[in-house]
């Protein structure tokens, strides 16, 4: 079990309100990702749920019981920290066993669970090493191991992959997703990287300055962003925003069109422009188009084989069915 409910939770540090009143429900077994730019309050929110920070007002329910004043250890949640927070003077085995020793389990049970976790996480050969003798990815796995042996109601991850290199990050992303499939435990995952959010989440919570901008599945957010912020934050490369006359034609203050929803052509199209920088990824190519008269740059995704060059004059056609319209307040117009 692990249903977590935040009811008008606020948090202030001194006079600064970091989290304005916020309501959120995380269903049992859900993989929820908090995503938002740095400093928007993701870690603070996670720490409130963990009990490492006291909430200023409101309440937190875990599995239907009020947990607002329950100390962190009693909430049945396990956390993986950004710095991993491994105990440097203990071996990997002792690190993983630590929460079990604190819970006063008997030694046989501890050994069994530690071996089990080590097997799942490919740590069996490293059990007698110190954290200092492990690579970043291995340390990450030890931190996860220390979390899973407790069999918590929910896992909390605070940017767990941000200290890893790009290749390892992709690998660990898959491992964490697989772990979620296997354990089917609630997971709350904090990241500033929308790719991590899109690839891993059942439910994404987009935050800005402590305010929830939108909650939904990755495809919900991609297809129907509620406002300009979410539209710009989700999706890579970023959505193109066009204001002014062209937007007015569609009855909006701003229109948004994703790079992958614009067709390119040498001969004809709705808009025209000059090719600037092209980024070749092999499978795809991103063109940055200038002098369209619509915006500074329009980014377009084309097939990897499309061979426009710098300075070519080309034509663009947006797909009308996936054009997003926003009003002057930045809110979506249906």
């Amino acid at each position: 079990m692990g249903r977590i409910q935040l009811k008008s939770v606020t948090k202030s540090f001194g006079d600064v309100q970091v989290i304005p009143p916020l309501d959120l429900t995380i269903e049992d077994g859900e993989f929820t990702v908090f995503v938002g730019p740095s400093g928007c309050g993701k870690s603070t929110l996670l720490r409130l749920i963990a009990g490492l920070e006291d909430i200023t007002s409101g309440s937190i329910d875990i599995d239907g019981a009020d947990a607002t004043n329950v100390p962190p250890a009693k909430r049945g949640l396990a956390m993986v920290f950004q710095s991993y927070a491994l105990y440097p003077h203990m071996s990997v085995r002792k690190n993983i066993a630590f929460p079990l020793r604190m819970a006063k389990l008997d030694q046989a049970e501890i050994d069994k669970r530690v071996e089990g976790a080590a097997q799942v996480l490919n740590l069996t050969d490293y059990l007698d090493r110190r954290p200092g003798q492990l690579s970043g990815g291995q340390r990450q796995r030890v931190a996860i191991g220390r979390a899973i042996v407790r069999e918590p109601a929910a896992f909390l991850f605070d940017e767990p992959l941000s200290n890893l290199d790009a290749a390892l990050r992709v690998g660990m992303r898959l491992e964490i997703s697989e772990l979620h499939e296997r354990l089917a435990t609630t997971m709350i995952y904090v990241t500033h990287d929308q790719v991590e959010a899109m690839t891993m989440a059942d439910k994404i919570v987009v935050l800005q300055a402590g305010v929830i901008e939108q909650v939904g599945s990755p495809l919900d957010l991609y297809r129907t962003p509620r406002n300009l912020f979410v539209a710009g934050f989700i999706g890579s490369p970023k959505m193109n925003f066009i204001e002014g006359e062209e937007a007015a034609k569609h009855g909006a203050h701003t229109i948004g069109i994703r790079p992958e929803h614009i067709a390119v052509s040498e001969s004809d199209g709705t808009w025209s422009g000059v090719v600037g920088v092209s980024e070749h990824l092999g499978s795809d190519t991103f063109f940055h188009i200038h002098e369209t008269g619509l915006a500074e740059t329009i980014t377009v995704r084309a097939d990897g084989e499309v061979g426009f060059r710098h300075g070519d004059h080309i034509y663009l056609t947006p797909r009308a069915d996936v054009l997003h319209r926003f009003d002057a307040q930045g809110l979506r117009i249906e």
């Binding site: 963990a50 009990g51 490492l52 100390p71 962190p72 250890a73 949640l77 396990a78 956390m79 920290f81 950004q82 710095s83 927070a85 491994l86 105990y87 440097p88 003077h89 630590f98 929460p99 604190m102 819970a103 220390r146 407790r150």
Partner: protein, 288 residues
């Protein structure tokens, strides 16, 4: 940079310092060794010739030797225990955010800047004096008979004075060590279900172990040779005669330079044994 030329220049430039330091060390050491094998009584006949290991045997077989060793150990161990334990507590206290932190920290360090002679005199006359001392007033306030600290509880008094001097040093080193502890480790332990005492024992104490070893190492070396605090308070009476003080008495009060020198050589050996032990511990700690 490390050409033949620059290396020989470097050696040349270092030479004065090295020669000076060597002289500083070697001359007294050699003289101590030299006198320790002689019967030398400056006011009673001067140099009376070589006596072999006579002084060494007499120094350890004297009835004052073992009590002196014991007094030394009591002071060293007592002060170490007090400064390390109180130092850890104070360091954890000072690590908490509080109002006026900067001033409080400077105040805590202050005793370290007071000369040993001065601080011992202040303690003797202002605190421990059985008639006018602050402690005597305090005792009388509660209706108790004032204690004549330096005669009745002489060892306790000296341990107190010396601890007061060394506590800031221990606190300072331990405070910097505590400040380097990653707070996420403590939070992780908290989430793992460790109550405060267990967090202290499993996380903070191991983190401090290196700093504690360094405090013990440095303090032992200095504590083995404390002298001023005893000289100005009890003058070695009431069981406070340490090895250092015994040597001083042999040389200056008994005017027996040979016997004192032999004691000095023992002290050198003792200090080196301690140093070797402690270097090993520190070395092991630094490897881990």
């Amino acid at each position: 940079m490390a050409t033949q030329h620059s290396r020989s220049v470097a050696r040349l430039m270092m030479a004065p310092a090295v020669v000076l330091l060597l002289g500083w060390m070697l001359v007294p050491l050699t003289m101590t060794l030299y006198f320790s094998f002689k019967k030398y009584l400056p006011l009673r006949g001067g140099d009376l010739g070589w006596v072999g290991f006579d002084n060494y045997i007499r120094f350890v077989s004297s009835s004052s030797f073992w009590p002196a060793v014991q007094a030394t150990l009591v002071i060293v161990i007592g002060v170490l225990a007090i400064t390390v334990i109180l130092g850890i507590l104070l360091a954890m206290l000072l690590d908490q955010p509080m109002w006026g932190q900067g001033v409080v920290r400077i105040l805590v360090i202050a005793p370290f800047f007071v000369m040993p002679t001065v601080s011992a005199l202040v303690w003797k006359n202002m605190f421990m004096d059985p008639v006018n001392g602050l402690l005597a007033h305090l005792w009388r306030f509660f209706g108790a008979e004032p204690v004549s600290w330096l005669s009745e509880a002489s060892m306790t008094s000296i341990v107190m004075i010396v601890s007061w001097q060394w506590l800031p040093f221990a606190t300072l080193i331990l405070l910097t060590a505590i400040q380097s502890l990653d707070s996420e480790q403590l939070e992780a332990a908290e989430m793992d279900g460790a109550p405060p005492l267990k967090r202290f024992y499993h996380i903070i104490l191991p983190h401090l172990s290196r700093a504690i070893t360094i405090v013990i190492l440095i303090q032992t070396i200095f504590l083995l040779s404390i002298f001023a605090e005893i000289f100005v308070t009890t003058g070695g009476a009431f069981g406070t005669r340490t090895l250092t003080y015994l040597i001083f008495q042999r040389v200056l009060e008994s005017q027996n330079v040979g016997l004192g020198s032999a004691g000095g050589v023992y002290a050198i050996i003792l200090a080196n044994i301690v140093a070797v032990f402690l270097m090993r511990i520190v070395g092991k700690n630094l490897d881990a």
